[in-house]
Amino acid sequence: MTRLFKKALQLITGEPSVSSLKMPKKRPFKKLTERELLQLESEIGANLFGDVPVGHRREFFCLDAKTWIWYEEWKDAKGKMQSSTTRYEIHDKGILKVQEGARYSFVEGAELDNLVLAMRTYYEQVARHIYKRDPHTGFPLTA
């Protein structure tokens, strides 16, 4: 499961980094791919929780209407790279947290409050800064 998570994540958030995304010279209007949009969104998501500590890499993004991904990567005391992927799935019975090692649990209490608040903050910032839309009405933002 761990390898599957990693592979899926690399497909979505792999290199190049968001900051290096460039439009091709020969097609100035070429659209960004969905993956590239996800990378842009994830850059906002990663910074929702304050500065990412030195040596850490964080991804937090909405994969689709029913799936959110939170990925952390860091070096342990021995300098070995460690990572953690958490997937939040929206089910009829609630929001299921899926982690490595077949750990499943429905999110509740303060964690649920915080998760939904993070999603909402993500949505508001992504709508404004990437899609240039008012998050509540969906109308384009005026300059």
Partner: protein
């Protein structure tokens, strides 16, 4: 309002991050306002009406919901909105490029795809 939103990561970057959403909220109350999809996406032609109806069924808006169910529904609508925004962005960009290149669009796209694949 959300500037104070911070994940409770340790200052020691070698320490494993916590595995739940336990960041500080500075006393903010959860806003239960449900955002709605972009109004200009609600056209019968693109099937959005059907999607909204599906959402209504899933959200079961006619029956009282618990607080946890409302939060879950909020999460779902936020994700739906994001998907709609992405889709709209991709469609708009495609349309812009097609208008710019006109009849040359397919040829240029094919050539570029081949270049990227090589």
């Amino acid at each position: 309002m959300h500037d104070t939103l911070k994940r409770s990561t340790s200052e020691n970057s070698q320490e494993r991050p916590r595995d739940s959403f336990e960041f500080l909220r500075d006393g903010d109350e959860l806003d239960l306002h449900i955002p709605f999809m972009s109004p200009d996406l609600k056209s019968p032609e693109d099937g959005t009406e059907f999607r909204i109806e599906s959402e209504r069924r899933m959200l079961n808006l006619e029956t009282p919901r618990t607080l946890a169910e409302i939060k879950r529904d909020n999460a779902y609508l936020i994700g739906s909105n994001l998907e709609a925004l992405r889709h709209q962005k991709l469609e708009e960009a495609l349309q812009r490029e097609q208008e710019f290149y006109g009849l040359e669009y397919e040829r240029i796209k094919t050539k570029d795809d081949v270049r990227l694949a090589s």
